[in-house]
């Protein structure tokens, strides 16, 4: 059995830059869904402590070094960048999600404006500060959206929809560039 070759969701898509803003494929591994069982949050947090993480509040994340735990929905967060610590599985359902998501990054001065085409959310800095993570639609797709810096976002969509997400964000960026050029 030869080794199987891994392929990322957007392999072959070179970054796109318009108005100093770049759309690129990102990466994050491993991704483990952590879903605490009812009444076991204390023990979940105890198990997470060695990583320096705690279960995040809704729309938030906790991070320590390369490891982060981002809130992804009701009773659920994704542990990214570190394997699940021992003992966590006793108190939370753990599910490998590493391959389930395509990751896109959008960085630059018009990142916010670009996303406010397909995302029906108030992404103004005051309302959506860095390290905020939300579940939200990207047009007709479900997405996990994180502001990683004032001018940078990470967008996770179902892996099979990566090309649609890429196409829609590219179009939004192109349109903004054309608007800027003719303003």
């Amino acid at each position: 059995m030869p080794e199987l070759i891994a392929k990322s969701a957007l392999a072959g898509h070179a970054p796109v830059t318009r108005l100093q803003t770049t759309l690129a494929e990102g990466s994050a591994a491993p991704i483990t869904s952590v879903a605490p069982y009812p009444g076991r949050m204390d023990r979940v947090n105890a198990a997470l402590a060695p990583l320096g993480l705690a279960f995040p509040a809704p729309n938030g994340q906790t991070r320590q070094g390369a490891a982060r735990l981002i809130w992804t929905g009701r009773d659920q967060a994704f542990l990214i960048g570190a394997p699940a610590p021992d003992g966590l599985a006793d108190h939370a359902a753990l599910t490998d999600q590493t391959d389930g998501w395509a990751i896109l990054t959008l960085t630059g001065p018009v990142a916010e404006a670009t996303l406010m085409r397909p995302v029906p959310l108030d992404l103004r800095l005051g309302a959506f500060p860095p390290l905020r993570t939300v579940r939200a639609p990207l047009n007709h797709m479900q997405a996990i959206l994180t502001r990683t810096a004032p001018d940078a976002f990470e967008i996770m969509v179902f892996r099979s929809m990566a090309r649609t997400a890429w196409g829609e964000l590219t179009e939004a960026l192109e349109v903004l560039a054309a608007r800027a050029q003719t303003a």
Partner: protein, 90 residues
């Protein structure tokens, strides 16, 4: 129309899936009379005014919500998570 999801915050109506009256929460006992099942599945107060109905935060956190709202004015009066309601668990 905007609903304030108890977890995600205020969101546009397009993020939610609508089911129907909160009657769907009051599942009769398996051996309840046929009339109880008929009422549960079909018959509705359907008020022109304040109602309580079920919404699902489909594009968000996957919470099922009970929304108290007015069917005439579209005012949203309250939103609570189905799972968090008192005595909600079977």
């Amino acid at each position: 129309m905007r609903l304030t999801c108890p977890l995600c915050g205020e969101r546009d109506r397009r993020e939610f899936y609508y089911y129907g009256s909160e009657d769907y929460l009051n599942r009769p006992a398996p051996d309840a009379a046929p009339q109880a099942w008929d009422d549960y599945l079909h018959n509705r107060d359907n008020p022109a005014g304040v109602t309580r109905d079920l919404w699902y935060h489909d594009m968000g956190c996957s919470s099922w919500l009970v929304v108290t709202r007015n069917t005439v004015t579209h005012d949203i009066l309250a939103v609570e998570a189905v799972a968090d309601r008192k005595g909600g668990a079977a």
